[in-house]
């Protein structure tokens, strides 16, 4: 009884329970994979871990109980990670700039917006992943076809947010700026742009995430480098452990990226009130 009261999930031992769930899942997985036929489809957690070791660490392990064949220390994933990251960053940058420019333009030019409206809607509802073969054709198998694919994903997120942001600029703030003597360019710089960028930042998590997705999917559909390429290769040789290792690495990578974005956001958006913040004077 007393043991249960200490073990019962509460705020203090929450982390323990979270780790517990992971351990449990891994244990079941490991047990299930003792059957060789099953292991062919679901892989083995220990081999997945070994694969990740070889990818990241430059020194190997001699043969032991867990790894009867020993582990190689190849440390060869960095070039692939670097390529995927480069594609993500490029796609995010280009997509954001394009989205910002188009969003501002269409929001401030009602006629153009009215004319282009159906096309914008169509382009947004199109499943853009199917553009990958076309981009492959246009830009080859290098990084630019992946960047292009990811840009199409990022662009629409940013575009719609900027469009919305400009449309929802407070009319009072706008009238105030005009009364203070702002001309059109000054309005753009001091009212529309800051308002739009605040919306861009609020969608930062989504757009960075999508840039990453676009890069990986692009690689997966045809490439010579990148984490998506590693997964593609492994799949071709039915090396399911490597596929899982790739998934784990991508997940961890995405989490790190998301954390970074969170920190940048916090710094840039300090003018925004946060819920529960009561620092008033």
């Amino acid at each position: 009884m007393t043991m249960w009261t200490t073990l019962r999930p509460n705020e203090r031992n929450l982390r323990g329970w979270q780790v517990g769930v992971l351990v449990l899942v891994l244990a079941i997985w490991q047990l299930a994979s003792r059957n060789e036929q099953t292991a062919f489809f679901i892989g083995e957690p220990i081999k997945v871990a070994g694969r990740i070791w070889s990818w990241f660490l430059p020194f190997g392990l001699p043969a032991n109980a867990l790894f009867p064949e020993g582990l190689e220390g190849r440390a060869d994933i960095y070039i692939h990670l670097g390529v995927t990251l480069l594609e993500t960053v490029l796609a995010f940058g280009i997509g954001t700039l394009l989205g910002l420019a188009f969003g501002l333009w269409l929001a401030l030019a009602p006629t153009a917006s009215a004319i282009l409206d159906p096309y914008v809607k169509a382009a947004n509802s199109m499943p853009r992943v199917i553009l990958a073969p076309i981009f492959g054709l246009w830009f080859g198998l290098g990084i630019w076809s992946k960047v292009a694919l990811a840009v199409t994903l990022v662009f629409f997120i940013v575009f719609f947010n900027v469009y919305q942001g400009v449309r929802e600029v407070s009319p009072v703030v706008l009238a105030n700026a005009r009364m203070l003597g702002a001309n059109q360019r000054q309005l753009l710089r001091t009212v529309y742009l800051p308002s739009a960028t605040s919306w861009v930042f609020s969608s930062l998590h989504t757009s960075v995430g999508l840039a990453f997705v676009g890069a990986v999917v692009g690689e997966y559909l045809g490439s010579a480098r990148g984490v998506g390429y590693l997964i593609l290769q492994a799949e071709g040789t039915f090396d399911v452990n490597t596929v899982f290792a790739g998934i784990v690495v991508l997940t961890a990578f995405a989490l790190v990226l998301d954390g970074l974005v969170g920190r940048i956001e916090k710094r840039l958006m300090k003018w925004q009130p946060k819920a529960g913040e009561t620092e008033k004077l």
């Binding site: 001309n183 003018w271 008033k280 004077l281």
Partner: protein, 270 residues
Amino acid sequence: MPHALELQDITVTFRSKDDPGQRYTAVAGTTLRIAAGEFVSVVGPTGCGKSTLLNVGAGLLQASSGEVRVFGEPLVGLNRRAGYMFQTEALMPWRSAIDNVMLGLQYRGVADADAREQARAWLARVGLAGFEDRYPHQLSGGMRKRTALAQVLALDPDIILMDEPFSALDIQTRQLMENEVLELWAAKKKAVLFITHDLDEAIAMSDRVVVLSAGPATRPIGEFAIDLPRPRDVAEVRNQPRFVELHARIWGELREEVLKGYAQQLQKAA
């Protein structure tokens, strides 16, 4: 000497966007003159078109007919000689207090360092020294109003238009700010057009009070010179017999319009 602001026979008719046949005349045949250095309040029931009138004077809204003159010149576009203090939040939430105050100066091409110095001085004058780097959400309602006031005054406009600027403040903060505005006004003597629905506030601050009728087709129905001695303290001046007398007279005119306005609102809601 021409009037600082002259609204001549102004009529403003709004057309419904969805149904062009639907028309609403907010203001009809209104003439209003404000001399340079004069403090004029306009009172009227809620929703009677007071703000419409102010927006016409600011050039933010085009009158359907009538003419606006600024120091004798017909007004084209925005009123460049006027500063406008809005009823609702007009500060940019992404700019700190000092960045908001220096905004108008930056628009005019004043060098940043110089603009910042002037803005700092203005913030100090409205009692916000030390709060330069706060963002609007970190300031109280009263402090935001002070910032907005500094923002308008920093440009040293000849005409100041105020649209119920203190209606959202609690009564103590409000009286403090009213006194401060009077003090700043006494020092520089700008023409002020002050919109309010609070008769006490109007009498305590103004040289002249104009009473508007209930809408639609609002027009002035009475004009009262306020001959209370200056300088005034808005809290103390209310106890003077002359204040009470003026209040009774103006309220006599206003009461009926307020009731009319209220009846219309009930009708609209029904």
